[in-house]
Structures are given as C-alpha cells and as structure tokens.
Amino acid sequence: MDFTLSEEQQMLQDTVVRLVRDSYSFEQREQFYRSEPGFSWAFWQQLGELGLCSVPIAEAHGGFGGSGVDNLLIMTELGRNLCLEPFLQSQIHGAGLLQQLGNAQQCEALLPRVASGELQLAVALEESQSHYLLHDVQTRAVVVDGGWKLSGHKVVVVGGHSAGLILLSARTAGEPLDEQGISLFLLDPASVGVSRRAYPNIDGPHACDVVLDEVFIAADSLLGEPGRALPALRYQRGRAIAAQCAEAVGGMQEAFRLTLDYLKTRQQFGAPIGKFQVLQHRMADMRGELELASSMAILAACVADEVDSEERSRRLAAAKFVVVRAARFIAEQAIQLHGGIGMTWEYNLAHHAKRLVMLSHQLGDDDHHLQAYAELLKSA
C-alpha cells in the first residue's frame, strides 16, 4: 500500500501544522479553556478563512469535498495540540448528518455557512439512559399545527453551548429502544422552552445538557423522512469515530514524544532514566501500541466515506477499540514514566492523558464497540 500523501495533502497538512503550532501553544490553550466559550473563536474563524472548515463538506454545498484522509490530517494536528474547538462535532458529525438527511433547500441554506465557519453545529444524540445506543431515544416529538413539539433531555452535547444550531434526535413514533420512529431535527437553541446547562468536560472541551420543555419548532426543521433517521445516525457516527481515532493518534504521538524527551532528560542514579532497560521496554510497548493505533486510524479514515455496509461498520468498530485501548495504555504509561509531574495541571502531558482516556467514553466505549464487532462477525 502506498501511504504517501499527495502534494495537496502535504500542503494541507503543512498549513494545519503551522497554524496550530503558531496559535495553540499550551499556554494559549489554557487561556482558551478558561475563556467564556471554552475555545477560541478567533482560531475557529481562522480555520474558516483558510478553508479548513470546508474540507469535510461536499463541493456542491460550498465545501472542498475532502476525503477521510484529508479529515484525518486535520484531526491529527488538532489532537496533537489538544485543540478545544468542536471541529469534529460541527464540521464532520453535524455537517455530515445535515448533508445526508437534509433536503436541497436545507443544505443550500445552511451548509455554505457551515463550510465558511460562520455557523457552528452540535449533535445531541445521547441521553442519560442511552449508553451509546443511538436507538435508545426517550426525547419525544409530537406533531402539532405547523410543526413539532419537543420534550426531553439530552446530555453531554459537546459544543452545544456555542452552536448556532443543534441536530437533535427525537422519537416521533414507537416505544423506547425501537429502531423505527427516530427522527432528526434542527433545533435553534434560542427557541422558547430550551434550556442549556454548560460545563467543561474533564478532558477540556466544553459541553452542555439540553432540556426541552414543550419546544415548538417549525415543520421544516425536520431532517429527512420522519422516523427514519437511525441509519444516517449510525453512518455518521462512523465518520465521527474515524475522525476521533485520528485525533487520538495526534494526542498519542505527542504524549509519546513528551515522555521520550523526559526520559532523555531526567537524571536518576547518575544517568538519564531512559538508559534503564525496564523503561526502554515500556517505551517500546507504547510505540508498538501507537503504531497499531495509527494503522487502524488510517484504515478508519479510508473506509469512513465508503457506502454503508457491515464490513465498514466492523472495521470502524475495530478501529475504535484498538485506538482507545492504545490511548489508555499510552496515557497511563506516560504518567507512570513521568512520575508526579505527569499529573500536574501546568504540564500538557496531564491534559493529553485525560483526553486520551476520555476519548473512550465518547461515541461508544471499547466494550460497546467490541460487542458490536463480535455481533457483526457472527452475522458475517
């Protein structure tokens, strides 16, 4: 297989590397984290101006029509510097859902604004009981005159506090856990009856819970056919997982680099601790896991935009499982090899470790994906 990047991909990567290196030092990230939205709007605008926000969006809708590999290049660099902007949630997951389910009018009105970075999206699928099951939806939408009325509670909507529009799943028919009857709506967070409780997640990015109290939304806020959103939700979660794997690889590479640097610098018993064989073994194990994870992230990027199939789902589940296993292993080993300093707030490794561990709990944890993989193997 040829893993060489094309000239354009190389330049795209160079642009992101330089931009992130110049605008996202650890100290700057700290300021962004403590600011009101929990990220940098200026950086977000820069992503838009340079055309990076348009990469995952189709050319027909004002985007660049980038491939999974293009998304991988961007996400890896954002992950390397622990960027807090909801690029994955808005540009990949949100825009992907809008593109797949939206009608021509909705796509035409919204996607060019998303591609330019002017409009940020968030995706609200999780509920407190759902535990990664996209069809476990208790939020209800009922038909009323001229539109829909929504009631329910969505949790941990990353970027939901700053998004201009939230894509929200709700049950329009059937019982909880039915696969039919799930619809996707475009929710204006400023609508009457919507309340949001924002908070920073333990790994950095800010999120919110969304409570819907008989919220009226117009009929044209429905995306796709009523009750038939589930296949699209599953497909786009696959794309988001591929992007998340790339983000994790960027974080792991940086955690590995920081640890290697530390081992070469820290002296104990009159020698750099990297001279000790037992620590070298640990580094070799970390490198092995990192290489496995990188390969799986590339595989995920390559299949993310393929036509939906069991094979695609199986590969994405495998990628997520291998990547989060590696992420947790590298995070834990990096802390062990650093000792106390690896846990301090003032040192970026601690934040990488938190992010790498928490990635497992977003878009399905390892148990969830291992089970999905096993079931797909059975049915194959």
Partner: protein, 249 residues
C-alpha cells in the same frame, strides 16, 4: 513589474537535526523538509507587492533536487504566479547558486529579485550579495521594510544598533530579514489553485552554468551538550560567579 523570488528547500526549523556518524553532514533521512523561513518572508513580500498593484508577476525559483518542487508548489499556493526549478542533485555552494540565479535573472529579466538573507541550514548569508555582484544590480540586504517608488526601491536595513534606509535603482536585489513581514498560511483554495500554475524544470547545463565547487566540507560537528546548572545561595554569590567564573560582567 516582474519580481523574482529565490527559495530554498531546507530541514524544517522545528526538527532537531542530527549529525551523521561519519561527521560528513546532517542526517536528512526521513526528516521533514520545508521552505527556508527567510524565503517564506521573501515570497510574502512579493505577494504583498502584487496585492498593492506594484508587482505584476511573481516568479519563484529554486535550485535543488526534484523534491524541491514541493516548496515551489507551496510558494505558488502562497500567491506566486509561476515557478522554475533548476534541478541539481549536487550539494551546491553559494557561488554556484548565485551563478545559476544570475542565469535565471538573465532569462527572466525581473525588475526586483527578493531572497532570504540566509538559509537556516548552511547559515552562509552570501547568495544575495554574490548575485548582486554577478548581475551588477544594486542590493539592499537585511531588509525590514521595502517600498517601491517609481524606478527606485527604498529598503530599510537592519544594521548593528539601528536602521539604515537606502534607495536602490531598479532592477535591484533585496534580501529579507526576520521582521520584514509575517508570512501567511496557504489557504485551501490557493493550494488547489497552485496545482494548475506552471512549473518549469531546467538544468544547470541548459542554463550553461558549471557548478563545480571550490569549497569542500571537511567535518560537521554537533554543538557540545549543555551542562547542568548550579544553585547559588545568594545574589552576592551569583554576582561573584558571573564576574569571576563566567566573566560576563
């Protein structure tokens, strides 16, 4: 006005370079290569001149291996109009590069040639000056400000302890210092446009230039590692050590 910008492919400034075991040079295997940062500033200045309506065409030229096309494409993505690569796999010294650039200048007849003041790999700071001597053009080195006024270009130079402004008759040669401007990022639409811009490949032979070097690198050594610091008990002790041991005050 046509502007010619010379750029060089060098090891990325963020890479920690390693000297080869035989001390013959720096190990370039699997090392990230980029455009020399001073050359990026040169490209940026040319693009700004074009945006102001002063420059009508920007030609970028690089001398090096086939892979230097990557850096030329980057320059095209930053706003240059076309590119020329003088392909040579040899390690060329400053004079050979200046001679090749002279041949390109003769061919292209630019009014202004902008170069980085030096490349971060060899740190010679010679090519611009040598090109000035070979072409007979006026030169403004270490530029921190460039203003074209009629048939002259005013160049503010960074010199020891201050600034000097010189007026050069066009055609002229300018070498850029760090504070001249802050280079932009290549945006995605411009990256895509760069693909369609022309890139011409020439050889030293085609330009009729011999590149035989009169200089041979004997040895390359890494700088000595930093030794550990010491703790002092008082300011007085620090002053005493700075005065008597380090002899810096």
């Amino acid at each position: 006005m046509k502007v010619l910008v010379a750029i060089k492919r060098v090891v990325d400034y963020n890479v920690k370079v390693r000297v080869k075991a035989d001390e013959s040079g720096v190990d370039l295997a699997n090392v990230k290569m980029s455009m020399n940062p001073f050359c990026e500033i040169a490209v940026e200045e040319a693009v700004r001149l074009k945006e102001k309506g002063v420059a009508s065409e920007i030609v970028v030229v690089s001398i090096g291996p086939t892979a230097a096309q990557e850096q030329l494409r980057t320059a095209l993505a930053l706003g240059a109009d076309r590119a020329v690569l003088v392909e040579s796999s040899e390690e060329l010294n400053s004079l050979a590069v200046a001679k090749l650039l002279k041949a390109v200048v003769d061919k292209e007849q630019p009014q202004l040639v902008i170069l980085g003041k030096q490349a971060i790999d060899s740190d010679n700071n010679q090519t611009g000056q040598m090109l000035g001597a070979l072409t007979g053009y006026a030169q403004g080195t270490f530029a921190s400000k460039v203003e074209v006024a009629g048939d002259k270009v005013n160049v503010t130079r960074e010199i020891d302890g201050g600034l000097q402004t010189v007026a050069l008759n066009l055609p002229a040669i300018v070498t850029t210092d760090l504070r001249l401007n802050e280079p932009r990022y290549a945006s995605l639409p411009n990256i895509m446009k760069a693909k369609k811009k022309p890139l011409e490949v020439l050889t030293p032979d085609a330009l009729g230039v011999t590149t035989t070097s009169t200089v041979k690198t004997l040895k390359v050594e890494a700088p000595a590692g930093r030794s550990a610091g010491i703790k002092v008990k008082s300011v007085a002790e620090l002053v005493e050590k700075l005065k008597n041991e380090a002899k810096v005050i």
